[in-house]
């Protein structure tokens, strides 16, 4: 193996390094390029497509390129947010993989100066009914997220979990963190001010997580188990101290720049802060606190040990920093200084061990690849599906129950009950409704948070599926009574060097861009995870959309649950014969095919605006968007929390299974007090939103009559028991 192969680079990339530095790189330098030019750090295959994203807007205070994006919510306050993947570590060591994913994303938020206030997690696993390995991964990942988030005291308020065979060998673990910050307290990772000190604070550097970024940039294979040492180990208590110490430090005005040590460790933190600042930096590896003796400079520079931060401190104020850090039981040491020679110089005592133009290391210096793309066969094949190909089932009670207990639709309570979702006492709408709502202390405001992605749609049609992921996130935000503001995206795909995978990625970016532009929700941060595949297949394209929205009056927050008997239930939007890619088709007919539902962005916007207005005027008792499982599952979901049934009449020309389980877009269920019906109808008519009254909240049964025939009649208690217990039942 060539020395460049060993660090995951190609011959061309090696030559590029020689061009930059004018000589052969030494071992340390080569390793630094290896981690920085890995896909995970350099985005070399994805960056050329980022230009499509809308990233600015009057409310965007910080777009992509920093540790996290920041969006204005008024009152001099802003929300910092970012999502990040930890897929490969979690596939090998689920507890620590997931825990350190949470730890890493929290650091990204407080590195901006924001106080982290909420966590969300988007998880994907293989077929839980079939494989014990999947159960092991799920239990480990959930415990890891709980172990870290609960201990550090940041509530885990939302997320989603889906199961699909495409994730059998490669689960996805995407963690999102949201923080709150005052406009004038925003900090960035800039090493500016020549002569300023570079200080290191937090945990000592060990041999864990060596080469993690490179490990994340190749496909998972049988040998991946051997890379367990590339997985880091988390210490949430250390991070809690680091978080409090850093926020206190940032208030002193002594900190010029701050950066967390994440993927590629010190190498990345030094290089990124240097290039954002004056351009140069000099550090001494001997000054770095270490966990063990005999560590080589390469190990020190690329270790991904957790809970470490880099501070750029105004010269002369180092002692002040040390004192605050020591109060929190930690240590801070000066490891170097800012220079203006555009070079990242690493010394070992007096000896220079690396001397590299800083910019050449980071993503601007890394190669960019415009991969070939090609429409895969399956894409055209899937569109040939006709619903007449499948037989209409008999016994809709049974069909509905089978859907409700299927792992994708079943309650995720077994999971979120392990997460402390209430700590810090701001959680107004808890996990289980469409979006989580948090109040913003000291104001009347609230924020709504969600993550979304139907990856089956994204597989069958990456462009339209990705649009739907964005609008569905927005629907969840709107149903909570909040106005959608901004997006952070976690893009999980297969190997970008394969043309069909790259096509999926490209289509997905274009779909997200279009939807975000239409909804005026710019992409302010994000993460790309490629190479999510095993020897046999890639995962479904999974562009996870994390979205934040704002409520001017948090008291107006709305949930999806029916509230009282006699309330009138309206269906907004039209049901069409659209079961391609549906949960119904997958669970009941074992088919993953078809043309996915059509999304009309103009209609979508009108419906969302109408719902938002109705909620803000206090006219709605509940609001819920229709997604997986269609109107039948949607009605069941609204019934459960309070055990209130519904008497529903659906008159239709569609085949009965289509009416009940179609996943047509831009549809919502709302419930309204009879006295408010006229006012709501007026809003909907003015917005040209099609709607129909389908029944009322009544009793303790869910009853659906279609064209004078009762097709579903089930006690809510029975539905709920099955739905709530299904995941627990599968695991235990």
């Amino acid at each position: 193996m060539n020395n460049y192969d060993a660090v995951g680079l190609t011959r061309d990339e090696y030559d590029r390094i020689i061009d930059y530095i004018g000589r052969e790189p030494n071992e340390l330098e080569l390793n630094m390029y290896g981690v920085m030019w890995s896909e995970h750090c350099s985005y070399k295959h994805s960056r050329p497509l980022f230009k499509h994203f809308p990233t600015s807007g009057e409310k965007v205070l910080q777009g992509p390129g920093e540790n996290a994006g920041i969006v204005d919510i008024g009152d001099n306050l802003a929300i910092a947010m970012k999502i990040e993947s930890h897929n490969h570590p979690s596939a090998i060591e689920p507890y620590q993989g997931a825990a350190t994913g949470v730890g890493g994303i929290i650091r990204d938020i407080f590195a901006m100066g924001a106080r982290p206030i909420a966590l969300l997690n988007s998880l994907r696993f293989g077929e839980i009914e079939k494989y014990d390995r999947v159960k092991y991964l799920l239990e480990g990942v959930v415990e890891g997220i709980a172990g870290y988030g609960n201990c550090i005291g940041i509530p885990t308020v939302g997320g989603e979990v889906y199961f699909n065979s495409s994730y059998n060998g490669n689960p996805l673990v995407n963690a999102m963190c949201v923080g709150i910050i005052e406009h004038d307290k925003i900090h960035r990772g800039n090493a500016s001010g020549v002569g300023n000190s570079i200080m290191y604070v937090g945990a000592a550097t060990g041999r864990d997580g060596i080469g993690g970024a490179s490990f994340a940039s190749v496909e998972l294979t049988e040998e991946s188990e051997e890379k367990r040492s590339a997985v880091q180990v988390g210490d949430p208590f250390m991070e809690k101290l680091l978080l409090e110490a850093c926020l206190e430090l940032l208030d002193t005005g002594s900190i010029v720049g701050i950066q967390d040590l994440g993927a590629a460790g010190l190498t990345s933190a030094c290089c990124e802060t240097a290039t954002r600042g004056e351009g140069g930096m000099e550090i001494d590896v001997l000054k770095i606190p270490r966990r063990e003796k005999g560590m080589h400079p390469v190990e020190v520079m690329i270790s991904e040990s957790q809970e470490r931060m880099l501070l750029i401190v105004e010269k002369g104020r180092e002692r002040e920093v040390e004192e605050i850090v020591e109060k929190w039981g930690l240590h801070a040491v000066v490891i170097g200084k800012v220079t203006d020679n555009d070079k990242l110089v690493v010394k070992e005592g007096e000896k220079v061990v690396a001397d590299i133009p800083a910019e050449s290391l980071d993503s601007s210096g890394a190669p960019k690849y415009y991969s070939d793309y090609q429409v895969p066969e399956y894409y055209k094949e899937a569109k040939k599906f006709k619903y007449n190909d499948i037989k209409e089932p008999t016994g809709y009670n049974e069909v509905l129950l089978n859907l409700l207990k299927s792992p994708n639709i079943a309650s995720k309570e077994w999971i979120y009950r392990q997460y402390d979702h209430m700590v810090r006492t701001n959680t107004v709408v808890k996990p289980g409704s469409d979006a989580a709502v948090l109040r913003i202390r000291g104001t009347k405001k609230g924020i709504a948070l969600t993550t979304d992605c139907n990856s089956r749609y994204c597989y069958l049609d990456p462009r339209e599926g990705s649009k739907i992921a964005v609008v569905e996130a927005a629907r969840n935000i709107v149903c909570s009574g909040a106005k959608p503001l901004a997006v952070t995206d976690g893009l999980n795909f297969g190997n970008p060097e394969k043309p069909d995978r790259y096509w999926q990625f490209r289509e997905s970016i274009l779909g997200i861009s279009e939807a975000c532009r239409e909804l005026d929700t710019p992409v302010i941060s994000g993460n790309v995870s490629f190479y999510n595949e095993t020897d046999t297949h890639a995962i479904h394209p999974t562009p996870i959309i994390g979205m934040v929205g704002v409520l001017d009056d948090v008291e107006k927050a709305c949930t999806m649950y029916f509230k009282s008997e006699g309330d009138i239930i309206l269906q907004l939007g039209e049901t069409k014969a659209e079961i391609g890619g549906s949960e119904y088709l997958s669970i009941i007919h074992h088919l993953e095919t078809g043309e996915i539902p059509f999304i009309n962005m103009a209609m979508e916007k009108r419906v969302q605006e109408a719902i938002l207005e109705a909620i803000q005027r206090g006219l709605l008792e509940s609001a819920h968007d229709l997604s997986e499982g269609g109107i039948a599952v949607g009605l069941a979901e609204c019934s459960m929390e309070k055990g209130l049934g519904a008497e529903i009449t659906l008159n239709t020309n569609l085949r009965r299974d289509l009416e009940l389980f179609s996943e047509s877009q831009s549809r919502f269920l709302i419930s309204v007090k009879p006295a408010n019906l006229d006012a709501v109808a007026r809003i909907l008519e003015e917005s040209r939103v099609p709607f129909r009254s389908i029944g009322k909240v009544m009793g303790n049964k869910l009853q659906i009559v279609m064209n004078q025939e009762t097709v579903i009649e089930l006690p809510v208690a029975e539905i709920e028991e099955l739905w709530r217990g299904a995941i627990k039942c599968l695991i235990e």
């Binding site: 201990c151 208590f237 250390m238 006492t425």
Partner: protein
């Protein structure tokens, strides 16, 4: 009348207790840093929830050796009020200020939920605003809330009315469904559920006020044991 909330490294619910007492109930309240030597000016000291010192050894095992804890013990020995919530309860049993111990939940998982508690004894500084047998809904969030104690001690606790709260549906395996207890002298309370998380309608529930208001009534001298 003044409340003090001890802040250990790793305390998380210190801020929640502070807001519940200050913003919701209008009380005079301060944080007490763990490195302090005196707690003289406080009428009620609270050990809040969280993961003090990371809780890597055993929940609550390290906090008793914090510098502030000698003074906290003197405070309790004088008969002043001391309240341990969640991790605070674990710390109080580690210190021997309350009997028994808290071990891992029976299902070996962390549990976060809102549960129904029954008030078993209203004749205490912590429950005097409740009615006997009242059901209150209070959140729990713990991995180690399974209360264990030897039979002899348990009998004593029953006889003295030291069992203050029991779970209606036992979530964690606690003996006799115990959720909260006090010492023999009835000035030290330990409970796994978080009353400070249930003090506002906006958050869905304000049953926690029954407990915090009881403490306030007691301190105001508005309540005497019958």
């Amino acid at each position: 009348m003044k409340f003090g909330i001890v802040v250990f490294p790793g305390s998380n619910c210190d801020i929640d207790c502070y807001h519940a007492l200050k913003d919701t109930l209008g009380q005079d309240v301060e944080y007490i840093w763990h490195d302090t030597e005196e707690v003289k000016e406080y009428d009620c000291v609270i050990l809040p929830g969280g993961f003090s010192y990371g809780d890597y050894l055993r929940c609550g095992a390290v906090a008793p050796f914090s510098r502030v804890m000698d003074a906290v013990k003197v405070h309790a020995d004088k008969g002043k009020l001391l309240v341990g919530i969640c991790n605070g309860f674990q710390i109080l049993t580690e210190m021997g200020l309350l009997p028994g111990a808290l071990v891992r939940n029976k299902n070996l998982k962390f549990i976060c939920d809102t549960v129904a508690l029954k008030v078993e004894n209203k004749e205490t500084p912590f429950t005097n605003r409740c009615t006997h047998g009242q059901i209150i809904n209070i959140p729990i969030a713990h991995g180690e809330g399974n209360y264990v104690v030897d039979d002899e001690e348990l009998e004593k606790m029953k006889k003295n009315g030291q069992i203050l709260f029991t779970y209606q549906e036992n979530p964690n395996g606690s003996v006799l469904d115990i959720a909260g207890i006090c010492n023999e002298n009835k000035n030290v309370l330990g409970m796994m559920p978080h009353p400070e998380r249930a003090c506002e309608d906006l958050l869905g529930n304000d049953d926690g006020k029954f407990i915090l208001q009881s403490i306030i009534s007691f301190l105001e001298g508005g309540w005497k044991s019958e």
